[in-house]
Subunit: 204 residues, 2 copies
């Protein structure tokens, strides 16, 4: 158990974030409370408010941390397949993989709504943009194009495509519909879109 004097502000921030992340991973967003995080680290709720502001801001920071971990695990999978492997399959697998390994953390990312007056910080936005950037680079590579607005728009749309399949898988909606292979379906849709978009490869 720590006490105020034991930690620098940066250490305290890390302690709150990692403890909060563990709590959401255990109980889901519904079971999260800043008070329980305070109890687990042996500080008062006031300390958490001092460091993160509202509980909503703390959840946003935890979700940003999840995004960063997700991006790191995606990067690892891509490194594992190498430049000549099936990088698109690795991308889809990486999207599903994080959700399957950390269903509560993944669900919290999409279930949490910030209040209208409490937008994301610049650090949140930078941390969350990592995942999209990895996808944009891979899609540009797959269709043989430079990264431009069109490739970025296609990439966002493919993220949404895979997200829809993954979200039905995690929520159990697929199981209700009798679907056994959501990830294979997502990959098939992505490949169809990439075939249709092979404009730069065919021009070169």
């Amino acid at each position: 158990m720590g006490r105020r004097s034991d930690h620098s502000r940066a250490e305290l921030e890390e302690l709150i974030l990692s403890t909060g992340s563990t709590l959401i991973a255990e109980t889901g967003l519904a079971g999260f409370s800043a008070r329980e995080v305070a109890r687990r680290i042996g500080y008062s709720i006031g300390t958490i408010h001092n460091v993160f502001g509202t509980a909503d801001r703390l959840v946003a920071a935890i979700n940003t941390r999840s995004f960063k971990d997700w991006a790191a695990s995606l990067r690892e999978r891509l490194n594992a397949v190498g430049p000549d492997g099936d990088r698109i399959a690795a991308l889809v697998d990486g999207y599903f993989g994080f959700a399957r390994e950390h269903p509560h953390l993944w669900t919290a990312i999409f279930d949490h709504r910030l209040p209208p007056d409490g937008g994301l910080t610049e650090a949140d936005e930078t941390g969350r943009a990592l995942l999209t950037r990895i996808v944009v680079e891979e899609i540009a590579r797959a269709v043989g194009c430079e990264v431009d607005d069109e490739v970025a728009a296609l990439s966002r749309s493919l993220i949404a495509t895979v997200h829809g399949h993954c979200s039905f898988a995690i929520s159990g909606a697929w199981a209700l519909m009798g679907e056994a292979a959501p990830e294979a379906a997502a990959l098939a849709r992505v490949r169809e879109a990439l075939s249709a978009w092979d404009v730069c490869l065919t021009q070169s």
Copy 2:
């Protein structure tokens, strides 16, 4: 304000469902309580438990009602474009349309998780299957195939594709990513998949 003797059980069921639906549409799932529904209709909370069981079962029944309304509005749009119109565009528009017109009801469908021991009733499942059935019929028509397992699997995957785009649109994730036209992107992805799947049309 009604009282016990004013309503038959069927009338009471309808009154609870419509009042509950209005409450979720106003406040979202987070602001929903069976007690507030009881207050609004002038019955005790015990009456609601008698008719629907737990609050979770009431929410499931309200969500089934939303599914039915959604299917009806989709059917209307399809009827409005007629057999020779752009029925695929009407389908995507109908998916987005319900979500845009009733964001809280739409979000409640996907945010609500039933407890492990409290599955859907058969009436819930029948009511919810209507929407999927409409999509399966339209996709079979678009690719010129009979309805079979493959067409059903493709249809579920296209629902997931559109769902992913719609869910980013409703949650505001698209806006954060700078995407202005999620519905057009969803439609483009669906058309690419249908072109790739035109097997029955080309065989006939």
